[in-house]
Symmetry: C2
């Protein structure tokens, strides 16, 4: 999707954007998203991958789904989740780049 030229967000938009950031502000949720980047995965598989407990992972998956970041599909007994919004990885890369730049500057201070 092409972005609009930048303009100030309304107060309501700011709240929604902050809510999106809040959902991404949890290390375990980022780990879950990273795991799902490999493809859809059952709750049990996610639980093992991120080394947490099943109820905790279920709760986080629900939060991610409510924000539209993941989608689920049920097959018999097991529920498979997958990424529903690729923009999250762009966000992470942007942040990684910014952090990298910041730490690079800090290193430069000691040269």
């Amino acid at each position: 999707m092409k972005m609009n030229s930048h303009q100030k967000m309304s107060a309501e938009a700011v709240v929604l954007v902050a809510a999106r950031f809040k959902v991404l502000a949890e290390p375990l949720r980022l780990q879950i998203l990273q795991h799902l980047e490999n493809g859809e995965s059952s709750v049990t598989a996610v639980t093992k991958a991120v080394n947490s407990t099943q109820p905790n992972v279920s709760k986080h998956l629900k939060i991610l789904q409510d924000e539209g970041l993941v989608a689920k599909r049920q097959d018999g007994n097991t529920v498979y989740y997958k990424i529903a919004d690729q923009s999250i990885f762009e966000l992470c890369e942007l942040v990684c780049g910014s952090l990298k730049e910041r730490f690079t500057e800090r290193i430069a201070m000691f040269i």
Copy 2:
């Protein structure tokens, strides 16, 4: 800065990225950043612009500074803050685009 091709973040990197998102997960801080987009501004001016209290704004500005998102400059009695990391606006635009897309899909459900 050019981004690397995407690769999985380490557990430590995930924590740092989540921390960055956490700083952005507050509507008032986003409002402050939006105000500073117009150029540097004193604490008092920011306080008025976002319609909050001076101690609250000072605290949020400190949080933003600790994360390297804003920088300050003191001139006599007053302290001026400015944006120190332009990537935050790219982040906001990405999120806005994603939200817009999401709501567009929802609208489509009613047509």
